[in-house]
Symmetry: C2
Subunit: 550 residues, 2 copies
């Protein structure tokens, strides 16, 4: 590749176009592939589990995202000629050349992928995805699958937590593109925030690509770019009641004088530049007027100017939408704004004015929302950026991809850190529900075992603690895995974004409230069958070095 | 857009291909553009400053990254027909249709962009980029420029901090793709980590696209996929001394028995699966043998197996590279490994064996490196993932894009939060250096002022605190801005990645050590000229509401 090509954004996204490429992986996946190939392991088969060990954000649940992207990746898994050329220059010269011919022919057609439905609530140690197939191919998928699942799931989980904090009656908008981790980080954030329960985004490209509602008003720069009403060239708006063009500036100024008395706000302190900006914006968007009111001072300027414009619009037959507050004490300023709207509504008998939308933004995170709830606020909509899209509280989910079986023989990775021990062998997962519809426990079984039967007594064991065990009699049982990829194609109808979003809501509803709460949530239990317990512990025992107290 | 198109990764990256598109922005940039257009402001001009208010990671410096990507974006700034179609369906139906014709014709040809060189050390409030041109166009660039600068600069800064912690004699590799914020987040991380001072990445696509060295060995799965040496089909390697194929397994097993006595490690506790895996890897990569040695137990198994394979390789004329340790007490295990290497080197008179490379990975962050330095370690190379690529300590940089001038008239945004007040008007920036070559202070002046002259007494004032002022007599002065974009084209030769990387090093060298230190660094001073000070404060005064105690 030429120097010219190697270092510009044009090339960068061109190479990254169309689909996630198989080279979006770690070198060691390829070096391992070569070592396996060299060891004549091309017909070996393997099973890998993709799972995480801990829920993010000190919570007790996670939303699974990114499955569709994994499947699209499998559809397109194939090394291009330029990939092969690059690998030839990058791997040591001692590599046998026929390996590259082997790589060139690889596809994912012999891979099987089982997964939990995208948008489901999931828990630590229950594999989200189980991948089976030729050892070399399934090993090559590791990094890319992790990349696609980790941030998607983290983001969807973060968004779902904000939704729970805000409740169902408040709108949530994602405003984070400018602070996201790169252009595509911003797109992923918009997509998975929507899946997790947000109502829209400000990101136009995300709107175009994923059909997500886009929302937004204007920025402080719009307000500060105006000095006073005399500079407005376009001052009129059609009166919907009589079809005549009317001067919106005059009408607004007259309303401002009237309101100044009603609201006890001195007109001389209100910014004329702000008024000019709001009038011009109202002329541009008479049906969708939302005003940023904190550029100068909400109480001394913004609220007065906004109400004057909104009442002038009302005279011409238009209903304003509301205001956005982007700084200051959001609880206080929103309550103050609401009081003002109610006062104006009552004074002029315009009932809808009392219910104008109040949007709050400015560095809001999950804790801010809980705190605003405690303080009592009058906010109808939060615009959330940095903390949401970068998952500031915990910017990475730790999914791992572990080998659990080779050629039908279970494999185990012991670790000096006990929490990192893997559960060997091919397993299936089930969710057990009580009569009230709430999920009781997840149960992992060896795939060769019979599936559990509802309304029977099932022994559920803690995977590591011999003493912890319980009998559960579930009302219903849901197998968690479906075959999503086999014979080179996607085996299930893939839901669209809004269906996944619905599934998130539904899946969260099946979780007891104490598991979802913000403070000290109850852990949801993940268990193993007695057979799986014995099988795992026997294997651990066999692999524990002599003389080791494990 | 059809449902089919709206929700898959194929479309997603296709739409996102080739170049960052102008729709990668916030809706409100477009609504403002319409409101300006409707207000007949198409010939208004404006100046925006792009700057941040606080250095990341509790440090006192930042590395500026992302400039080239901004310039590539300007080159390609143009709405496609499908963008316009999308906007027509998204904006309110009351929008005048001729606006879309106006949008379709927009380019960045009338924009001028001044910037500090990419890779420079930069400080709060000194604009990194100054954009001048038609108000509507420069406003439309806001979100995209911020997206491109924010994460790039954050990532380069983070990498530079890791480099300072590790010192110049330790290699640093970026291993973070799997935990990055999306596929492109991973690519950006690899690119800007390299610029910031890393030596390579494990990310193959980043290697291919940006010509960054790629490094990596194998994963635990490789080790656990082998059970014992008998399963190896390919056991031989050419002896470089005599050209004969020799059985590497036999040789390794014989060395293991010998070493077992020397090192007092029981052979029966060492894993035979690990030995088989390492031998097979050595057969595949005899010239580049790096072994992961913590799968089972570094002291009881990994180090013994590694040394046995490395000595067998040595018999055949190959030099092993080293080991990677991915868990446990990295200081202790690295020292223990080094002791072993030294012992073997002395025993068998193989001096290079003492200097085998020790790579450490496993959740390393900047603090871990400082702590390992304190403990004394024998690590030659760190592989760093999650904390680096997600900038876990602070996952977003807060660059903002503020209007400072409209039609030649300065603009200011006051704020109830004093730290958010902007510096109005068009400004130039200079870096003043002392005789020792260290940077003394940055100085902002109004662009209409004469530039400062070296070896003269210059009054440098604190931008906000009237009492803080100092006279500085700099030995040399560097103007910080160059014109990077004018008349629709890039005006400077753009350095390649390794040149930017060199510039980072050089720029950091010009900073006094106390400003760069990890703990309680000294703030670097940013000042304004007397003229600019008076100008700003006069303007603030004029814009402060009556009755306000500011």
């Amino acid at each position: 590749m030429s120097v010219d090509e190697s270092n510009n954004v044009h090339t960068r996204l061109q190479v990254h176009n169309c689909v996630v490429q198989p080279l979006l992986t770690d070198l060691y996946q390829i070096t391992m592939a070569y070592a396996y190939w060299k060891s004549e392991k091309t017909s070996d088969t393997a099973v890998f589990d993709l799972f995480f060990r801990q829920n993010p954000f000190q919570g007790e649940f996670t939303i699974f995202g990114g499955l569709e992207e994994c499947l699209r990746f499998l559809e397109n898994f194939s090394y291009s000629d330029s990939d092969i050329e690059y690998l030839k220059t990058t791997l040591p010269p001692t590599i046998e050349q026929s390996f590259f011919g082997y790589l060139k022919e690889l596809t994912a057609k012999d891979v099987k992928l089982y997964a939990i439905d995208e948008g489901s609530v999931v828990f630590p140690r229950v594999p989200l995805i189980r991948v089976e197939g030729p050892l070399i191919v399934v090993q090559l998928l590791e990094t890319t699958l992790l990349t696609l699942v980790n941030f998607s799931s983290l983001m969807a989980t973060n968004a779902a937590r904000y939704r729970m904090a805000a409740g169902d009656n408040v709108s949530l908008l994602e405003f984070g593109l400018r602070r996201a981790q790169g252009p595509d980080g911003g797109l992923s954030a918009s997509k998975y925030a929507y899946i997790g329960g947000f109502d829209g985004t400000s990101n136009l490209l995300a709107g175009k690509m994923f059909n997500i509602p886009v929302k937004g008003t204007h920025a402080h720069a719009y307000i500060t770019s105006f000095s006073n009403p005399s500079e407005l060239k376009n001052k009129t708006l059609v009166n919907l009641n009589n079809g005549k063009e009317q001067d919106l500036i005059d009408l607004t100024l007259s309303w401002r004088t009237t309101l100044s008395n009603l609201l006890h706000i001195s007109e001389s302190q209100a910014s004329d530049g702000e008024l000019a900006a709001l009038v011009s914006f109202a002329i541009a968007f008479p049906e969708g007027f939302v005003a940023l009111i904190d550029t100068y001072d909400v109480n001394k300027s913004g609220i007065l100017n906004f109400c004057a414009v909104a009442l002038a619009l009302n005279d011409l037959g238009y209903k304003a939408i509301g205001v956005r507050i982007d700084s200051g004490d959001l609880a206080y300023l929103s309550n103050k704004s609401r009081e003002t709207f109610v006062k104006v509504a009552n004074e002029y008998n315009i009932p809808w004015f009392a219910n104008l939308t109040i949007i709050a933004s400015n560095d809001i995170n999950e804790e801010t929302i809980w705190s605003l709830n405690d303080q009592k606020h009058s906010i109808d909509c939060f615009g959330i950026g940095t903390h949401l899209v970068t998952c500031q509280r915990q910017p990475a989910l730790g999914c791992v991809y572990k080998l659990v079986e080779v050629n039908g023989t279970p494999r185990i990775k012991l670790s000096q850190d006990g929490s990192k021990i893997t559960m060997p062998g091919k397993k299936d997962a089930f969710r057990l529900y009580g009569a009230d519809g709430f999920a009781l426990i997840d149960l992992l079984k060896k795939s060769v075992e019979d599936p559990p039967v509802a309304k029977t007594k099932l022994l559920c064991r803690h995977p590591f603690d011999q003493k912890k065990r319980a009998f559960v009699v579930p009302s219903t049982i849901k197998p968690l895995y479906k075959i999503y990829w086999e014979n080179g194609r996607i085996m299930q109808r893939l839901p669209d974004l809004s269906e996944v979003r619905e599934h998130v809501k539904e899946s969260l509803r099946s979780l007891r409230p104490d598991i979802k709460r913000n403070l000290n949530p109850t852990p949801y239990k993940v268990s193993v069958s007695d057979d799986l317990y014995e099988f795992m512990h026997e294997l651990w025992m066999r692999n524990t070095p002599i003389g080791e107290l494990s």
